[in-house]
């Protein structure tokens, strides 16, 4: 059973910032009702979400219930419309309660802050005053703009954050944005001279989990001896808007294989390719865009030597959410499969919130992704 604080949306009328805590308390009591056992105000962390469009903020607001069901948090949803008319910063609040055991309510707090025009500059101040001390703070940069290009607002909002979560799906100008993001990552996480550590996490990296798992198993020397060393060509095919995801996978593969990039070629909207020096000699990696399909990696084709003969692995995502591996050029080969369940954005976020460790493999992959980008940009 779910219970909202009053009003259809559960959101209050606008309240003054100084009254936000009081209003949350008041609504908490309303959700509790009378004569019932005390409610549990559940909050594992502060989740600050930054949106730059009302439609996006609405979309995100609809995902919050799912997020806090897995990872209870105080949610601060920020909507900044810097190009809007100059206006005040308005706050609305909501409390959502759900029963976990008979008579035991668990509630989470939600504060929405809407800033227009120059008021967007005041969001970091509002955030500072609304964070709950002693709890980790996560910033979900939900705006489509890459964080590397977001400027000082992101830094101000991330002042107390231990983690910033972003989603690279749909980013455009891949070489430029990958180069910028890889460089930004080091700078953002290092915070020179500062004690607090923080990590940046890309939801796209999380989405690649099953691809990374099946490719690692496919090229494992125990199951395919010599395959990894003999790779001569890798083709990654992706649906529209997933070139960054494919690039991330390419970075990961190159970081694992230790290939050294020599040159690259970029055909916007069609194909990106690089030539490498590999243990087997010259090798090629291509990222190709498919005209249709979901925005994710669809197929990876690996040319290598199998059982002493030229062969290949065809690794493909199917509509039933299975990734299959089919060896080609090998006698008596069986298809192997791995389930890659659909993960909603809310699910990815809620899992990422609890996963605050710096992933060295992600960073190694991004370091290679930067080199790949530099080859294309000629720097």
């Amino acid at each position: 059973m779910i219970r909202n604080s009053p009003s259809k949306s559960g959101l209050s009328d606008p309240v003054a910032l100084k009254d936000v805590e009081r209003e949350l308390d008041r609504r908490m009591f309303i959700v509790q009702g009378t004569g019932e056992s005390p409610i549990l105000r559940a909050r594992m962390s502060n989740l600050v979400i930054y949106c730059d469009r009302p439609e996006l903020a609405n979309e995100v607001a609809n995902e919050i219930a799912e997020i806090v069901a897995t990872h209870p948090a105080r949610v601060l949803l920020l909507l900044a419309e810097p190009s809007g008319e100059a206006g005040d910063l308005t706050a609305t609040v909501a409390v959502r309660g759900r029963v976990v055991d008979p008579g035991r309510w668990v509630c989470s707090e939600f504060v929405s802050l809407h800033a227009k025009g120059r008021a967007a500059e005041r969001l970091p101040y509002a955030v500072r005053s609304l964070l709950i001390g002693d709890l980790p703070t996560n910033l979900w940069w939900a705006a489509p703009q890459p964080p590397s290009m977001a400027g000082h607002l992101l830094y101000d909002l991330a002042e107390h954050a231990q983690q910033i979560i972003y989603d690279s799906v749909g980013w455009i100008e891949p070489p430029k944005v990958m180069a910028a993001t890889a460089s930004w990552l080091n700078q953002f996480e290092a915070r020179p001279g500062r004690v607090p550590w923080r990590v940046a996490s890309d939801l796209n990296w999380r989405r690649l989990k099953y691809w990374r798992r099946i490719l690692a198993q496919t090229l494992d020397p125990a199951t395919a001896p010599g395959a990894a060393e003999s790779l001569s060509e890798i083709m990654i095919e992706h649906g529209p808007h997933a070139v960054i995801q494919a690039w991330g996978l390419a970075g990961w593969m190159m970081s694992r294989l230790g290939w050294r990039v020599q040159q690259g070629h970029f055909q916007e909207g069609e194909e990106i390719s690089w030539q490498f020096r590999s243990p087997a000699g010259l090798a090629r990696l291509r990222i190709r865009r498919l005209p249709e399909g979901t925005a994710e990696v669809q197929r990876v084709h690996l040319n290598c030597i199998l059982q002493g003969k030229p062969g290949a692995f065809n690794v493909e995502l199917h509509s039933d959410r299975r990734i299959s591996v089919m060896p080609e050029g090998v006698i008596k080969a069986e298809q192997r499969t791995l389930t890659a369940p659909v993960q909603s954005r809310a699910e990815l976020i809620s899992r990422q919130l609890s996963d605050r460790e710096r992933d060295p493999v992600f960073h190694e992959s991004m370091a290679v992704a930067l080199i790949l980008a530099q080859r294309l940009l000629g720097s």
Binding site: M44, Y125, R128, G133, T137, V199, S354, D355, E357
Partner: protein, 527 residues
């Protein structure tokens, strides 16, 4: 002794005389506190309140009653109830007169004697000196001259005096204020008030430490990494109407030239530090506890001139944003204040509105444990706490990752806004992987006891009526606290720096404060 409930002393019949009853303190704090004590049935039946000073209009008694009602409506933890208020107002009076006019004291004396008869008060008095420090000596002299101070050895009636901060502005002037009061009142008649000590959480510090078996064994250098004491205030020195932005009140007149070190550190914070760090007292006797507190002050490592440069940061707020409103900087407020009064506008103020410092207590228990203190105006939120951060677990097992140390265990005692405490520990997240996540175990006074916590002044006024000085500052403690901050004040006063570090209103202080603690590999807590 009120620390142990079974031994509680009862408040004794008396008249409470508030000097400066027309002022802010009386309006915001004292009268609402007395009203609440009345509603809760805590006051003696033979009791009256008499305001004394200038500023009344019309019938003085009616004026103070209206003023009280207004203060209660705005600031009391419970709104005024007509019946209760009528009862309360019957024992509320005002005598108009100047603090420097002997005739006014004669009138006050006569009025008190009449009220004694009216309410059956045996002649006992509590004088609450809610007046500026320069008026204290004068008031005391007049009280003595008018024969309004009973002997401390008198067992039939008592006279007690409550002295508000600031007690001086440095060691010398503090000694003078103390000596001025001494001329008429013995030390056991003098109650130097610090309202922070009346807060439940502050009192609870001793209970936490000495009524639980798990904390005190850990309360030392072997287990504590460091301690942070924060007193953060959202308010600046000027209050404005949120709609018109016009100035509705200002504390600049008091604050300019005083600053955060004198206003907060020398008294509130050092007192809280004493309760946090003192050795176990052998009893709950007022002087036993005050001896233990003085022991801490005596062990504070004196600051050299170089220490002041490296261990103390002062700063001033500049324009910024609080609660979604743009607010001006301190210097702007100072200029505005003096200009509006047609007084000479001082050259750019160097009064600090923020102080951060690192100090050490050189005794066996706390040797080399740093204590980080910070206080400031116009910080992002009103939040005060004492946080004991325990040492990290060894860097093996769950704390083996060099990049991501586990968040250390922290016991935080929250003084305001919601009094309570929390303990942050590490816990495993559910799931197949071993992922450690910090968990905050919270205790909130209001939520747990389903009642509003009494205001600090309620508790402290009751203690004075009961003759319990435990929560009040003894003269040696006041002097020791001034002695500790003296090198800082001296250093700053001799400094030729015209510009202090700055911080935007609505941020957690200047970069220099971050550097101070980060140089030790630590960081300020996010409140």
């Amino acid at each position: 002794m009120t620390w142990g409930a079974h031994q509680a002393l009862l408040p004794q019949p008396c008249a409470l005389v508030i000097f400066g009853a027309a002022g802010d303190l009386s309006w915001r704090k004292l009268l609402p506190a007395i009203y609440n004590l009345n509603v809760d049935g805590e006051l003696p039946s033979n009791f009256a309140v008499v305001g004394f000073g200038v500023g009344s209009k019309g019938d003085p008694d009616e004026w103070i009653r209206e003023r009280a009602k207004d203060g209660i409506t705005r600031f009391s933890r419970r709104p005024p109830d007509e019946n209760h208020f009528a009862h309360f107002a019957r024992s509320l009076f005002y005598v108009e007169g100047s603090f420097n006019d002997a005739r006014a004291y004669a009138q006050l004396k006569a009025r008190l004697e009449s009220i004694d008869q009216q309410f059956g008060i045996p002649g006992s008095r509590i004088y609450y000196l809610a007046v500026p420090p320069n008026v204290v000596g004068m008031s005391v002299d007049h009280l003595k001259a008018a024969g309004m101070v009973a002997s401390p050895s008198d067992t039939r009636v008592f006279t007690r005096v409550i002295v508000e901060k600031p007690i001086g502005r440095d060691l010398e002037s503090a000694k003078k204020v103390i000596a001025d009061v001494d001329k008429a009142f013995a030390e056991n008649q003098t109650y130097r008030i610090d309202h922070y000590l009346g807060k439940e959480t502050v009192q609870n510090l001793l209970v936490i430490r000495f009524a639980n078996s798990i904390f005190e064994p850990l309360w030392n250098k072997n287990h504590v990494d460091h301690v942070q004491i924060t007193v953060a205030e959202e308010e600046g020195l000027t209050h404005r109407d949120p709609k018109t932005h016009e100035v509705t009140g200002s504390r600049i007149g008091y604050y300019e030239g005083v600053g955060a070190l004198r206003d907060m550190v020398q008294n509130h914070i050092l007192q809280v530090l004493c309760l946090t760090c003192m050795e176990p007292p052998w009893s709950l006797g007022a002087d036993v506890i005050r001896d233990a507190k003085s022991g801490v002050l005596r062990c504070l490592r004196p600051l050299s001139r170089e220490d002041v440069k490296t261990s103390v940061v002062r700063a001033q707020y500049i324009a910024g944003d609080i609660n979604g409103e743009e607010v001006p900087g301190y210097r702007h407020e100072v200029r505005e204040y003096f200009a509006s009064r047609n007084q000479p506008v001082p050259s750019d103020s160097t009064t600090e509105t923020f102080v951060a410092m690192r100090l050490f207590i050189d005794n066996w228990r706390w040797a080399d444990v740093p204590f980080y203190i910070r206080t400031g105006k116009r910080l992002p939120k009103r939040a005060s706490e004492v946080a004991i951060q325990f040492k990290e677990v060894p860097q093996i097992l769950f704390n083996a990752h060099p990049d991501i140390p586990l968040e250390p265990t922290v016991l935080a005692l929250r003084v305001q806004p919601e009094e309570g405490l929390s303990l942050r520990i590490a816990s495993k997240l559910p799931g197949p992987k071993v992922r450690i996540y910090p968990v905050k175990l919270e205790f909130n006074y209001t939520a747990s006891y389903a009642a509003t916590t009494p205001e600090a002044y309620e508790r402290l006024l009751l203690d004075v009526m009961a003759g319990d000085a435990t929560l009040f500052m003894r003269r040696d403690a006041v002097e020791a606290a001034w002695q500790f901050v003296a090198p800082i004040l001296e250093n700053w006063e001799n400094s030729r720096e015209r510009y202090l570090p700055e911080y935007r209103a609505g941020t957690w202080g200047p970069l220099e404060a971050d550097k101070l603690i980060e140089a030790d590999g630590r960081q300020w807590r996010t409140l």
